[in-house]
Symmetry: D2
Subunit: 341 residues, 4 copies
């Protein structure tokens, strides 16, 4: 049985485990007030070329989204997102549990565009009843999106312009950010993201860490007492250094980028394999997630030999499934897969 159902099947990159082992019996202050966190923050600031950025480490993606959104919005505001955005669908209502509406925009390949967002906001202000409605208070995007697709630099800049025009922040969910940054042909770098987003996070859970997401607030006066918000949301790790050590390792000697690039190469190999075998892609994805359309009989048959992710029901006879590579995928895994099927 080969496994391609997600990019969080394994533990952590061996260098991370090594650092955790080496530092295990050191005594450090809790809650992120340790030297490893400081070092990691400093390296991330440098990688983003954003020296005044405020950085916080949280454990997982849903809690990061919920904490950032609750910290940034006022009670009368909601967050604009693609209707396929993670916060719209697979976070069990965490944003609403925090009191905020997710205002959905239609998407194309998982992306929203600046024009649609602006139109939404304009219509809101033109609506004579808008004081009875939830105000759009920020824009949320994911990059890569839930469909593995990527924004271009120009698209991010235009979203940034819309946000500036209406004085609302742009928040980028980077749960799989590494795989986006290392995609071929993308012009979006960490620096581009730091320049265009008010807040974003660099995903660790799916990119080499045991767990962990690094929130980067590029405009430090955007929020107050974010630490207390993290605590209130149950997102504060007692042994905060576990996050510091992981991100410090990932941002030493380009590890984060190198392992991400490897996952992209594995995705390319996977793509070629499926293409050769005549499988139908749901669409072209430049990152580590590949979506394939299977008829249900084929799906049943295939699932005896390889495990993949259910994505969505396409029609009564077809299902979209996901194959994901990661930092941990080996070329031999892919060879083995195509021998099996």
């Amino acid at each position: 049985m080969q496994h391609f159902e997600s990019d969080y099947l394994e533990g952590a990159h061996p260098l991370i485990l090594k650092r955790l082992m080496e530092t295990n019996m050191e005594k450090t202050p809790g809650y992120g007030c340790d030297a490893y966190c400081e070092s990691a923050k400093s390296k991330i600031r440098e990688a983003c070329n954003c020296e005044h950025a405020e950085i916080h480490f949280l454990v997982g993606g849903t809690q990061t989204n919920a904490t950032v959104i609750k910290a940034l919005l006022r009670p009368y505001e909601g967050v604009l997102a693609a209707d396929t955005g993670h916060i719209s669908t697979h976070e069990a209502g965490a944003i609403e549990a925090g009191g905020h509406k997710v205002l959905t925009l239609p998407q194309t390949l998982g992306k929203i565009n600046a024009e649609a967002a602006e139109r939404y906001i304009e219509l809101f202000f033109k609506d004579a009843n808008h004081d009875h409605m939830v105000r759009p208070g920020m824009i949320y995007i994911s990059h890569p999106t839930e469909y593995g697709t990527l924004y271009t630099k120009n698209e991010l800049e235009r979203l940034n312009q819309v946000c500036k025009k209406y004085k609302i922040p742009l928040f980028l969910d980077g749960a799989r950010l590494g795989y986006g940054l290392m995609a071929k042909q993308t012009d979006v770098t960490l620096e581009v993201i730091a320049k265009n987003c008010d807040v974003f996070y660099i995903g660790g859970t799916k990119v080499g860490a045991l767990f962990g997401e690094a929130v980067v607030i590029t405009k430090p006066d955007l929020t107050n007492h974010f630490f207390t918000m993290i605590k209130q949301q149950g997102a504060l790790l007692a042994k905060g250094r576990l996050l510091g050590i992981q991100f410090d390792t990932l941002f030493t000697d380009q590890l984060y980028f190198d392992i991400s690039r490897h996952a992209i190469e594995m995705a390319e190999k996977l793509k070629q394999g499926f293409a050769l075998k005549g499988y139908e892609f749901y669409f072209e994805s430049p990152t580590n997630q590949q979506f394939i359309v299977l008829n249900n009989a084929k799906m049943a048959q295939l699932s005896e030999k390889v495990s993949f992710g259910f994505w969505e029901t396409l029609d009564d006879e077809h299902t979209v499934v996901r194959f994901a590579t990661s930092w941990a995928t080996k070329a031999t895994d892919i060879d083995a897969l195509f021998e099996l099927i």
Copy 2:
């Protein structure tokens, strides 16, 4: 200037004010524990032919929706509603402020249908990730809808069947219920509603009262401590008898129904007037709200002589506007309108 912008332009039906005057200096216990509330409840139970119904009086519609939904749902559940439903659009995020997602269904003329609701629920259960998603925990409909349209008895029964099948309650927002019940050709009576809905409310604010909504819980074991929920939501009126007196009056000698029928007759007269003048209706509405498509130049011109409600932007050149009649509309108002335009 003639006024047709809403059905809450005036105070209350004169008989209600008369009762408030007559009883003004009586001393009664607060919070709805008075004889007027008891009498009103008893009359409503009879009108619904539902003798065991639990009845509560609240002040306004948004607070009623928020209180009912918060009382009925568990934190992991959301409420299914039309994407044009009042709770989806014009309640300033009150449902989300209470922690719950509004799960929207596409609508036709403001209505959802049982098949679409069932399909949504089925897809939810078929989704391998549904434990990461908001569970559909109730169905919300408005009758009349925000577009003035009506469900048929059969449509309500089918919604009821879907709710029963999945063991979730059906909640009907009756902010304008009287105008629905008295529409011509409807087969939906109060008794039909009480039989098919787990909870609904009978709107007073827009149908003859100064304010007030009567919540009818047809299955009394559906919820506990609803009184405390009302208090917590800030929806408990200290002088509860004001609500009791109003609903007691409305449900004495068929007043609620008679004044509703009058509004329907006025709406018919309005419709004929517009039709004669060649105005374009957005669609056919059988109740007291009529939606007309105007080009924007015409709208500007018309708005000097008559006030109407903005509904929605149709395209760059056209706007949908609303004309509403009510228990208080006089035939001479309509005559005057058509002399003006």
Copy 3:
């Protein structure tokens, strides 16, 4: 049977009902955008000598407290209040339902003092773990308190100074404000309150209106989109003019003050009556609520002839009960009471 259990036993002052009758069939815009609301706001601004105040009309006290507190606090903040404060005890958890902790201070006769509040805040900042704790984000007081007692001008000024020092707002719950303003020997006027509080409300429900509370925000840049917050909290009355008309009447020709003074005179008469009969007061109250200690046998006996409010269990054999006068209490009611007992 004589009734003294609360100050909301009757409807409204006859002048208010008269105005409601006279204006009943007028057509006005909804949600408080009418001329009566404007007029009432203008009169209240004048009475407060605070021309730039932002004023909103809500229906009841709990919803007003919940809305103001949610609008003013950030998610990491709580509200300091007496442990006997209405928000701490009798609002069914409305403040917590809005996400905020009520941080309680010990009280003396229902009042907190500036020193205790400052000590709390100082201890908070000295606590090495304060980033793990709820930040004190505003001070809430009631005037009169739940025990009928009053702050002095000096006490309000000192609370104001503490609030200024820590840059948090002072919020005064004036559900019974009229009875406080007209108490004998108080030096606290509306103007004093407007000068010392960032937000307060002038209670109508218990002081002559059918219902209604006028929120006065003395620093208009304190909050944004308060209207939307009112809507979200379910506290927006469709026929907003009902509130405008009531407050306009109350603030015409000093009506609010005159009827409040009457209630105070009735309270004095009641006090004298009880004192003459040898009843024990729980403490001296200068306003319309009088608290008397009864042994439980006496209480049972008395309750056959007069209805009063349960206040609290003092010990196994004694109960504190409340007698309230109001704008509506007649001297003959009190005479009748003392003939009975």
Copy 4:
């Protein structure tokens, strides 16, 4: 510099890291649906002698408390806790952020007693206004308490009886449970806890794990869809096996108990050392946290050589500080400490 400021200074017990290393490249399903979690659950069920218990693994204490409490309470309910309870003080308002009031009871040495809890509930029901108040919906205790003290078996049984009488659950926060179970002279075993509590959690973060808390629901029909609640609260770890592996290791060959016993022995040694040097204990603690009263000059002097935890300001001249041992404390650390001071 010697470190005794907390029991989460180091990483994890070496056996845990070893297991994480060994299993690192295995591919497992996410979100706790792996064999390690199953195995750990099975061992915990056995250790509790509670074969039908439902078990979930979460990351940290605050999120566990918030998730359990939100899952168990209805919106009109609050949670009874000591006013020194962790949820009352150091969780940044997480419980209130979830909509629930913490109803505080006075404590003795961090403990509440069944009589006080019952009195509170009785007074609630006797209060004529209790429908306007937050209903006590569960009892929360911590064991060991925040002061390091322990309930006796008899005290737990009496709390259980009160809970049963009023049909509310008893929830035990066991963030430091191991240190409680291994204290000398305690008669409270895991089995006693499982028998008397409806829900409790076994703390890993402070007892040998990198992080992690095991929630044990002893009455499986107590709650529904707890998994979705965990997800909504942002408390679901993608690589759930990290928790499974850690708890599986801790509950293999009594590791959890052995390392806890070690911490207790170290605490005894620390106690003797301080006693010999004439230090004043704030009170007698049988577990791994020791509280010492220092005058502030002494505290400043001491803090140059050893780091300890600030606990609370006792008076202007004295502070209570905390020294904590843990599974990781070495006897030589303590010797070194007493050489320094």
